[in-house]
């Protein structure tokens, strides 16, 4: 599913001659169906790695292959298609559209695809069902709790049918009970065949994962 070779990422800073050496990964492989937990101190490069894998950042050295695609070789159009169909990214802040209902938010990817309008609603409801929020379809983000918003964000990420889900600290802002719910959800999605890479410190999530990776100053331990 994921194949990384000699990846280095340096953030150039205009002021300093020396940039920040954010990532340096000689080799990394993630197979289909794995549930990988990515740990490491704050600033160790977890978010940076996830954005590169998600096709959201193309400024790096080395080879990154996801779902059979060599990302550096994709045109901007093909990269958009990759983001739409192959990979799903869930960010720390959920970035939902305030005035829209849960259902509309979940269906956001449909606006940029060739989906016909008829299939959109059933698919959105199906996704909401999958994250256990089918009764909140009409609620706007303001009417939902933090955990529910996080689930909406996951439902939106999965709307287009991606096989790889990248989650950045999904339980960061949740209380214990909601955290347990999130762990259950991710475990179930993994059991249904979704490949997961999750950046987290949450012990419950770590114990649910099938593999642990630890980053320290951009290097895998």
């Amino acid at each position: 599913m994921i194949f990384v070779h000699n990846l280095t990422k340096i953030f150039e800073k205009a002021a300093h001659a020396q940039g920040v050496h954010a990532l340096s990964i000689p080799s990394l492989e993630v197979s289909l169906g794995e549930f990988v937990a990515l740990t490491g101190k704050s600033g160790s490069g977890k978010t940076t790695l996830l954005t590169i894998l998600g096709g959201l950042d193309s400024c790096y050295e080395g080879e990154v292959q996801v779902g059979g695609e060599v990302l550096a070789k994709l045109s901007s159009r093909a990269l958009a298609k990759f983001r739409a169909e192959t990979v799903a990214s869930v960010f720390q802040s959920f970035h939902l559209i305030p005035g829209w209902s849960a259902e509309e938010n979940v269906a956001l990817p449909a606006l940029f695809s060739k989906t016909s309008r008829r299939g959109v609603r059933p698919r959105a409801l199906q996704m909401l069902e999958a994250v256990g929020l089918h009764d909140k379809a009409k609620s706007t983000p303001a009417q939902l709790s933090g955990g529910e918003r996080q689930r909406i964000a996951i439902a939106r990420a999965l709307f287009a049918g991606a096989r790889l889900l990248l989650c950045d600290e999904p339980t960061g802002n949740l209380d214990t009970q909601t955290t347990q719910g999130m762990v259950d959800l991710l475990s179930r999605l993994n059991a249904e065949g979704l490949t997961l890479v999750v950046a987290t410190h949450e012990p419950l999530l770590l114990s649910a994962a099938s593999r642990h990776l630890t980053l320290a100053e951009g290097r895998l331990q």
Binding site: T47, T48, T51, I52, G54, L56, D57, S58, C59, S76, R77, A80, K81, R83, A84, E85, S89, F91, S93, H95, I97, G99, W100, L108, P109, A110, L111, F112, S113, K114, T115, S116, R117, R156, A157, F159, A160
Partner: protein, 422 residues
């Protein structure tokens, strides 16, 4: 992108930036509206000037030579001269005019429109070729007739009468055709100012019509009638008072004037120049005002660009999410452009309505202020449909220009960077 999706995204961004949308529509509307309004006024005034001073660009009038002290000979403006004129390059037609070369008075003592009118009037008559009036008059009536000579009155005369004479003297105002057919006698060789100038000759006339081209200070009669009267009165009946020369194309007018001067004739260019200057002044003013409108348009465009730039900056996170879930650059630019297009269309439409409404109000105001003058144009504000369309197109073009910069900047920043909030 599907249409329903575009619709949804447009709804989102228009709602999000409602104030930007309103100010953009207002700015574009103001610019388009004022531009169209001033252009409409320019077109209207120009056509009014042409209507008011019907010296057509294709005609020039050759006046009979004046006696010049010290000169023994002068060019006669007679048939020989006319034959010469006819031979000039670019000359298409001649219209001869001949004054009746004796003063005359008319004594009106009659019931006119239920009023007893009793007054004496000094009358000057000029004979003209019927074709000069064209369709202004009923050509069949305008033929020499010894019994009763047809007379054409100036349209303006009626207005002067209605505006000044009638109200002051407590008389009813006239409507053009009421006077048609009205007969009157003129006794020539008799004048209030000059006394008797020869043997009196009486001639009957009747009002045959009205034209703005008619002699203002008297009556216009058929050329043949003027010739006959001059013969009867023992006056010069071979030389014309003036000849209107019509050229085939207005661009040749200068060359024809030159040729006429080379032949030794003076042309009366005063009125032509006056009208040209009036027209120039109108367009200079229109141009200045239009420039002002274009400036407003430029400001509106900058306003859109800045507003859009700001709004895109505010919505950067949202747009990054759009891209993260698979939106292509082209799709996002498409939404921005569509948004600008809609604002421009609304603003341009508003401008068209405003200009049209403004013109309508202006017309109403002017017509009320100027009252019953019959020679007013139908409208002071005139704008071809094409110019309206052009205004809307211009608004759209300006708006697209305004989104060009911001939409390019939109895609320059990396998604990851934006989402990380850096």
């Amino acid at each position: 992108m599907r249409f329903w999706a575009l619709q949804k995204l447009l709804g989102l961004s228009l709602k999000r930036d409602a104030s930007l949308a309103y100010s953009s529509i207002f700015g574009i509307g103001l610019a388009t509206g004022s531009l169209l309004f001033f252009l409409g006024l320019g077109f209207g005034l120009t056509s009014f000037i042409q209507h008011l001073f019907p010296v057509e660009a294709k005609r020039v009038e050759v006046k009979a030579p004046q006696w010049v002290v010290g000169e023994t000979e002068y060019k006669k403006l007679d048939e020989v001269a006319c034959t010469d004129f006819q031979k000039l390059k670019h000359v298409r037609a001649l219209f001869r005019k001949m004054e009746v070369r004796a003063p005359g008075i008319t004594r009106v003592n009659d019931d006119i429109l239920g009023m007893r009118i009793d007054m004496g009037l000094e009358v000057m008559a000029v004979g003209v070729e019927p074709a000069l009036f064209g369709e202004d008059i009923e050509q069949a009536l305008f033929v020499e007739d010894e019994e009763a000579v047809p007379a054409i009155l100036s349209t303006y005369l009626i207005d002067v009468y209605n505006q000044h004479f009638a109200p002051k003297n407590g008389l009813a105002s006239l409507k053009g055709d009421m006077l048609k057919g009205f007969g009157f006698d003129v006794i020539f060789n008799r004048s209030f100012f000059a006394g008797n100038t020869g043997e009196r000759v009486r001639q009957e006339f009747f009002v045959a019509g009205f034209s703005p081209k008619a002699f203002l200070a008297g009556i216009s009669i058929p050329l043949e009638s003027a010739k006959r009267l001059n013969r009867t009165l023992g006056r010069e009946a071979e030389q014309y008072s003036s000849v209107v020369v019509e050229v085939d194309d207005s661009t040749h007018i200068a060359s024809v004037i030159q040729q006429l001067e080379r032949l030794g004739f003076k042309t009366d260019e005063g009125e032509r120049r006056f009208v040209q200057q009036l027209g120039l002044a109108t367009w200079a003013t229109t141009g200045a005002l239009s420039l002002l409108s274009i400036l407003i348009g430029v400001l509106a465009t900058i306003n859109i660009a800045q507003g859009l730039s700001h709004s895109l900056h505010m919505r950067e996170g949202e747009l990054a999410i759009f891209r993260a879930v698979g939106a292509t650059s082209a799709q996002l630019v498409g939404v921005v452009v569509a948004q600008a297009f809609i604002l421009a269309l609304a603003g341009g439409g508003l401008g068209v309505l405003a200009a049209w409404g403004g013109g309508y109000l202006l017309d109403g105001f002017l017509f009320q202020a100027l009252g019953a003058i019959t020679w007013l144009p139908k409208r002071f504000f005139m704008l071809p449909v094409g110019v309206y369309l052009g205004g809307v197109m211009g608004a759209i073009l300006a708006a697209l220009l305004g989104v060009w910069g911001p939409s390019r900047r939109l895609l320059r920043r990396g998604i990851a960077e934006v989402l990380a909030g850096r």
